[in-house]
Point group: C2
Chain length 154, copies 2
DNA sequence: GCCAGACTATTAACATGTTAAGTAATATTG
DNA sequence: CAATATTACTTAACATGTTAATAGTCTGGC
């Protein structure tokens, strides 16, 4: 029984909000990872940056932002912090002075490798709780959704 | 070809990060809703609060936080803003002076009803692009994931 | 070589995310 | 019923999300 809000304005139930459903699911997942992030003194976003740099080597700031799903103003502040604490290194691109190249520093690599086992353990726990094949299928579905909504301008 | 980072520290590829996959999908969805949110001068979170109050009537702050997937410190600031702009109203609960009851105000209801058609149009576009049945299945999957990861303490 | 326009990164301003600490009201215990 | 613990909300501090504006840098036409 609603509160009389169903007169004249057709509107789906709040429980059928796709952004909310994705957010709730993501929060449930992140709850598993936050304890060890806190223990190692890095935020979720700082971890994403270190993680991307570990895999990709030296990359441009713009590329790094896309990889980490961060906006460039956020990344700018995050890199300032990570550079100040010695976890990453920045240098101007030789061929284009507008661009900046970023790489993980030894201290960053060391931190990442220390936390990795805790992260992997949580992935195993999640796949056990939800099902390995169902988890794999979810990756596919989420990527398909992303591709389906991609603006044609890209 | 990795960058020599595969020696000794077993770690999944960054592309198989569940938080990242959920975030990317959510951002793709939100990109469809942000233009009209901006046009109506409300943030995503402010909209969630108005949306929940519209459906549920007067609720306690704590309940509202759970409904909107917001932490109470964030909600506290959001409600201060929404109350100052006349979109919601707060009053202490008669039975327990610690609790606060929140309800949508007429101006909030009016704003919500003006934007609702734009929001519904985007939902139709998303369901058309991704498939109505696949969208419904995704809701189910996300809820199952949430339930599977729910800590037993809850 | 010069210049208007495009591109890359940063800064600014305001709102929220996250954790810890604080405040007031209620519930509990001895 | 008084001392204590618990609960609900807020405030504080720092980090990020989001949009707009800024500061260098590069490119193509002239």
């Amino acid at each position: 029984m609603s509160h009389g809000n169903d007169a004249g304005v057709p509107m789906r139930d709040f429980s059928r909000s796709l952004p909310m459903a994705l957010l709730r699911a993501r929060e449930a997942v992140m709850d598993r990872f936050r304890p060890s992030l806190r223990d190692f003194g890095v935020t979720e976003q700082q971890w994403r940056v270190l993680r991307a740099l570990y895999d990709r080597g030296e990359v441009e700031t713009g590329t790094l932002a896309r990889l980490c799903c961060l906006l460039t103003p956020s990344l700018s502040r995050i890199l300032k912090h990570l550079e100040a604490t010695g976890l990453v290194a920045r240098r101007p691109a030789p061929s284009d002075q507008r661009r900046t190249l970023v790489a993980i520093a030894p201290a960053g690599r060391a931190l990442l490798e220390r936390r990795a086992p805790y992260s992997e353990a949580q992935y195993r726990a999640i796949e056990e709780a939800f099902g390995k094949e169902r988890t794999a299928a979810l990756y596919e579905t989420l990527e398909d959704l992303h591709n389906a909504l991609q603006n044609p301008k890209s």
